[in-house]
C-alpha cells in the first residue's frame, strides 16, 4: 500500500488559490471552513514564498492522540480520517494540530463548536465508499474511485503534489536538482519527521 502525502513545492506555487476553490467545490465544504488554504510568507518582499496547506495526514497524528472520544483512524493508505458521528466538538484536535487543519462550524450560542471538519484527502469517511451519507458528511471519495485529491490534480503549476510519499519526494528531488534550488517540502519535518535531502 502506498503512504499518501501532500507536498507543496513553494518555489512553484503562484498563490492562485485554485486548490482552495477546487476543494470547496468538490467536497461541498461548509460555509466558513477552508480545508485547504494558501499562506504567503514574506509577502511582497524578496524571498516571498507561497505554500498551500491542509491536513498533512501526519504520521502518529497529534489530533488522534489527544481526541477524548477517539474519533480518528488512519487508513491503509496513511490517510487520517475521522467520524463525525462520534465527534463531540471539544476543540482539542485543533489545539494539538501543528497545521490548524481541524475547524468547527459554529452552531448555537457562544462559541459552540459543531462536528469537526478537515481535509479528508478526498477519501470520505467511515461510511460506505461513495454513499450519499458519506458525501453529505465528508465530501467526495475520489481515492475510492482511483483518483487523487482534486486540489493537487488541478494545480496549474503542479506545485501541489499528492500521491505516494516516496514517488512525490522523488519528483521533488529531481526538480530541485534540475533547477538548482528548493525551499524544502513544507510541513514534512513537522508531519512526518523527515525532510527531503536535496
Amino acid at each position: 500500500m502506498a503512504r499518501m502525502k501532500f507536498l507543496c513545492d513553494a518555489d512553484r506555487c503562484i498563490e492562485c488559490n485554485a486548490c482552495v476553490t477546487a476543494c470547496k467545490n468538490e467536497n461541498d465544504v461548509p460555509w466558513g471552513i477552508n480545508r485547504r488554504r494558501v499562506v504567503t510568507l514574506n509577502d511582497g518582499k524578496p524571498g516571498e514564498r507561497s505554500v498551500s496547506m491542509a491536513c498533512m495526514h501526519c504520521t502518529d497524528a497529534p489530533c488522534a492522540a489527544v481526541c477524548p472520544v477517539n474519533v480518528f483512524y488512519t487508513t491503509a493508505d496513511g490517510v487520517v480520517l475521522h467520524s463525525k458521528d462520534l465527534c463531540i466538538g471539544c476543540g482539542y484536535c485543533f489545539y494539538a494540530c501543528p497545521f490548524g487543519a481541524p475547524q468547527y462550524p459554529k452552531v448555537g450560542n457562544f462559541g459552540s463548536r459543531g462536528k469537526m471538519d478537515k481535509c479528508t484527502y478526498c477519501a470520505g469517511g467511515p461510511e460506505a465508499d461513495g454513499s450519499k451519507e458519506e458525501y453529505e458528511k465528508y465530501g467526495a471519495n475520489r481515492l475510492a474511485e482511483g483518483k487523487l485529491p482534486l486540489c493537487a490534480e488541478m494545480c496549474s503549476t503542479k506545485a501541489l503534489l499528492a500521491g505516494d510519499g516516496e514517488v512525490i519526494a522523488q519528483i521533488y528531488k529531481e526538480r530541485v536538482s534540475k533547477r538548482g534550488y528548493g525551499s524544502g517540502a513544507w510541513g514534512w519535518q513537522t508531519a512526518y519527521r523527515e525532510s527531503i535531502a536535496t
Binding site: V39, Y95, P98, F110
Partner: protein, 335 residues
C-alpha cells in the same frame, strides 16, 4: 521581525550560493532576492524555536495565516502524558491518604457527646450558595475528568457510540453549568471573605496540626479554622482561575485569542482542575464520614453546641457575647 527574516534570507542565500559554487553550477545565483533566497521550513523552525510560522492569506479567516504551529506537539505531550500523571497521582493519592487517615483515626466523635442544644452555623443563603457551588462542581468535575480520563477508562466498556453520546452531553453540561458555578464562587467570595482573613489563632491551629491527631486536643478557631480558610482561598482563587481559563476555552478566538493562548488556558484549567478535585475529596470526607456532627451544618444549618465548642471555640464565644453571655439554644433555625 523584518530583521529576523532579513537574517534568515541572508543565511539561506549564502548557503544556496555555497551549494551552487560547490556544484560549479553555470547559473549565477544572487545572494539577495533571487529565486535561491528562499527560506526553508527547517531553518525557520530552528530560528523560531517552536514559535509560529505565519504569513498572509487572502481568505477572510485570518487565523488560517498560521502555517505551522509546532507548540501543538508540546501541548499534546502535556495532555496525553503530564496531565494524566498529575491527575492520577493527585486524585488517587488523596483517596489513599483519606483511607489511611480513616483507618487510623476513624470518625472523629464529639468528645463531650451531644448536648441536645443546637446553634445556627450557616443560614439559608449560605447553604444555598454552598450547595449551588457544590452540586455544579461535582458535575463539572466528573464531566471534566471524562475529557481527560474517559477515553482510557470509560470508552472500553461503554463502546464508541454510547461514550460519544455521553461525552457530548457531558460537554454541554460542563459548558453551561460553568455559569452557575461562577455565580456560586462569586457569592461565596463575597459572603465569607470577612471571616477568612488570617488571624493569630490560625498559627496555633497549625502548631496543633489542626487537632487532627489522636488525643491532639482541639485547636481554637473562629467561624472557620485555618484549614477551612486555606480551602476557602483555594476555592476562590483556584475557582477564579478555572472560570477565566474555562471561558477562554468556551469562547475560542474571541477578543483576539490565539491558539497558543487557548493551549495555555487548557494547561492551567487541567492542572488546577485535578488539584481542585483532589482537595474537594478531602473536604467531602471531613464534612461527612470523617467527623461526627459536621454534615448537619449544611443540611438544616445547625450544629450541636458541644461540637461547636470543640471545633470552633472562639466562634462560640463570639456568638455568646452577641447573645448576652449565654449560648442561645435554638428551637428553630434562623429562617
Amino acid at each position: 521581525m523584518a530583521r529576523l527574516f532579513a537574517h534568515i534570507r541572508f543565511v539561506a542565500g549564502a548557503l544556496a550560493l555555497a551549494f551552487l559554487v560547490a556544484l560549479a553550477a553555470p547559473a549565477p545565483a544572487s545572494a539577495q532576492g533571487g529565486p535561491t533566497a528562499a527560506t526553508s521550513e527547517q531553518q525557520l523552525l530552528q530560528q523560531l524555536k517552536g514559535g509560529v510560522i505565519a504569513g498572509q492569506v487572502s481568505i477572510p479567516d485570518k487565523k488560517a495565516a498560521n502555517l505551522i504551529h509546532p507548540a501543538g506537539r508540546d501541548w499534546r505531550t502535556f495532555h496525553t502524558v503530564t496531565l494524566k500523571w498529575i491527575g492520577g497521582v493527585a486524585i488517587l493519592g488523596m483517596l489513599a491518604l483519606l483511607v489511611i487517615f480513616y483507618l487510623w483515626r476513624g470518625t472523629i466523635a464529639i468528645e463531650g457527646g451531644r448536648s441536645g442544644r443546637k446553634i445556627v452555623r450557616f443560614n439559608g443563603f449560605e447553604r444555598f450558595t454552598h450547595w449551588l457551588t457544590a452540586s455544579t462542581f461535582v458535575i463539572l468535575g466528573i464531566t471534566g475528568l471524562n475529557i481527560t480520563f474517559g477515553r482510557a477508562l470509560v470508552l472500553p466498556w461503554l463502546g464508541p457510540e454510547a461514550f460519544s453520546a455521553w461525552s457530548e452531553w457531558a460537554k454541554y453540561a460542563h459548558n453551561y453549568l460553568s455559569f452557575a458555578f461562577t455565580i456560586g464562587v462569586v457569592l461565596m467570595f463575597l459572603m465569607w471573605v470577612g471571616q477568612n482573613f488570617p488571624t493569630a489563632a490560625d498559627i496555633t491551629w497549625f502548631k496543633m496540626g489542626g487537632g487532627m491527631g489522636k488525643g491532639g486536643g482541639h485547636a481554637p478557631a473562629y467561624k472557620f479554622n485555618a484549614g477551612q480558610k486555606l480551602l476557602y482561598w483555594f476555592v476562590v482563587l483556584g475557582g477564579a482561575a478555572m472560570i477565566i481559563t474555562g471561558y477562554i476555552l468556551i469562547f475560542p478566538f474571541y477578543g483576539g485569542l490565539t491558539v497558543g493562548n487557548m493551549e495555555l488556558a487548557e494547561v492551567f484549567h487541567g492542572v488546577i482542575g485535578v488539584l481542585f478535585v483532589a482537595l474537594i475529596l478531602a473536604h467531602i470526607y471531613l464534612g461527612t464520614l470523617g467527623m461526627e456532627g459536621a454534615f448537619e451544618s449544611m443540611v438544616d444549618g445547625t450544629v450541636d453546641v458541644n461540637w461547636a465548642k470543640e471545633h470552633h471555640s472562639l466562634w462560640v464565644e463570639e456568638q455568646m457575647q452577641q447573645t448576652g453571655g449565654k449560648a442561645r439554644p435554638m428551637a428553630t433555625p434562623a429562617e
